[in-house]
Amino acid sequence: MATMLNVAIEHAQGGFRLAVEFAAEGGVTALFGRSGSGTTTLVNAIAGLLRPQRGSIRFDGETLFDADGGIHLPPQARRFGYVFQEGRLFPHLTVRHNLTYSGLFSGQSVSGSELDRVVGLLGLESLLERRPGALSGGEKQRVAIGRALLARPRLLLLDEPLAALDTRRKSEILRYLELLRDEFAVPMLYVSHAVEEVVRLASNVVLLSDGRVEAAGPTAEIMSKAELRPLTGRYEGGAVIEARVAEQDLRYGMARLEFAGGSLFVADLDALAGEAVRVRIRARDVALALQRPEGTTFRNIIACRVSAIADSPGSMAEVSLDAGGATIVARITRQSREELALQPGLQVYALIKAIALDRHAVGYA
């Protein structure tokens, strides 16, 4: 797919300096970075709410911002949808009027069928006549997503839309986001620092740290790199592999996936045979054995070769494994490492319980 969004900007504000350069294609691109890494400033600049000091922003060949050329398109002319962390619904309007708000300015009002489609998809039927003050956090965020969608955006910007929600609401909205990614095919730029959200939604990741782009590329590649572990998170750390659903065993609720390193069994996966998926395998869910174990409950026993070992602080070591070209990461104790005499090049078996790979670990590519 041709490059769609080109960003190269610099902006300094109160001791913080943002200097980023990246390109995004269609589909979902995640801007992955902890709070304070400059993601919100960056998204505001792309939306046109903030005018960077230097650089340029281009979308689909159109220049939205160019500091040297003195070009700065106002937000209303960019036609980008923006879903904010805190919803930002208009308190004086009902949900219905919030949803159709953009119709006041686009020259054609939001059609009934369009509204019905979004309302149906996001489950807003019973909320239409209410005011935002009477909605829960999750409901507000669903309305905010619907409102942005109904403006028929060329690009949807989402700035940590789940950050203010509890875990249950999070996974609920995440499902809606997956649905609308597949239904509407709107390109999205999704800001988050939750690995689960990124793996499930995004096909590409731009990794931001301290106002700079640390790495960018396909999700599986970026989230698996050992040297990026400090940025992608220690507890959540692990690898992301790309796989395809080979078969569903409905008797046991188990799906068999195929990936470069062989088969992978996953529990309770809502996917059809043939679908492409991304699976996040957390490093702490992976055990290692020198021989293929017999009589074990580990459903996944994958032959691999040790490609690198890194000692983490404390008692841990991280072992990167090569499984037919795909990367798997195991976090083990240094004690085990010494007892098994692990070193690069050694043939080992990675053991992963199927229940460690539930649907929260799987994203649809």
Partner: protein, 234 residues
């Protein structure tokens, strides 16, 4: 109520109403400027707007007379170009009241605009609204309680205006003699006490009614803005 009393009352209401209509558009612009923009001389501008609150009303009335009287620089132009004379007319009383009520109106509206989260206005922009669109669909509706409060405050101020009015347009029965001026005139003549007291009662009733109506309007507007939340809190 006698015909004479009714005349005084209706003149007062007319003057107050026009003073509000006169000052509201300008007050909206000035309040928005002060709340949302920074420009050189902002604090001076703010101070000048507040002058009528702190100056003796007579001083304001005298300035108006010098400026807008038939010989005044602005008054002369108004008469030459548009044939408009406001000195010693009820229109002049409305202007005097508008000036006196202006700071109150600006203050109330400005506060309510400052209370609006600029992030909501930014959200409106991302949904396609330009400057005017944001103003009409987000800023003004959200500022409505403040606008109503400002309108009422300046309306009430106009009903009670005395010093600036009497200095600028004098105390002419049937033309510029509003309620306070009529009461003052009656207390200056022997045997006018009873009539003055009747007008005082009318003034009290009028003020009470205005307060009650405004309370209702502001509460209704606030509830509309915040939906069920406000109802639950009440």
């Amino acid at each position: 109520m006698s015909a004479e009393e009714w005349g005084i009352l209706s003149l007062s209401l007319k003057v107050a109403l026009w003073s509000v209509l006169l000052s509201l558009p300008l007050a909206l612009v000035v309040a928005h400027l002060l709340a949302r923009h920074d420009f050189p001389g902002k604090s001076l501008c703010d101070a000048v707007i507040h002058l009528p609150l702190v100056l003796p009303p007579v001083v304001i009335g005298y300035f108006l007379l010098i400026l807008l009287g038939r010989r005044g620089p602005v008054g002369e132009l108004l008469e030459q170009w548009f044939g408009i004379v406001i000195a010693f007319r009820w229109t002049g009383a409305a202007v005097a009241c508008a000036v006196m009520g202006f700071p109150l109106m600006v203050r109330a509206i400005r506060l309510s605009i400052e209370n609006i989260d600029p992030k909501l206005e930014a959200a409106a922009q991302t949904l396609g609204a330009g400057r005017i669109g944001v103003l009409l669909t987000v800023t003004l509706p959200l500022a409505l309680p403040g606008i109503l409060t400002g309108v009422l405050l300046s309306f009430a101020r106009s009903l009670g205006e005395f010093g600036a009015t009497i200095t600028f347009v004098s105390n002419i029965p049937g033309e510029t003699q509003t309620l306070p001026l009529a009461i003052y005139a009656l207390t200056q003549v022997p045997g006018g006490d009873a009539a003055a007291m009747r007008l005082c009662v009318i003034a009290v009733l009028l003020s009470l009614a205005a307060l009650l109506v405004s309370e209702r309007l502001v509460r209704g507007a606030t509830r509309r803005l915040h939906g069920h939340d406000a109802q639950r809190r009440n």
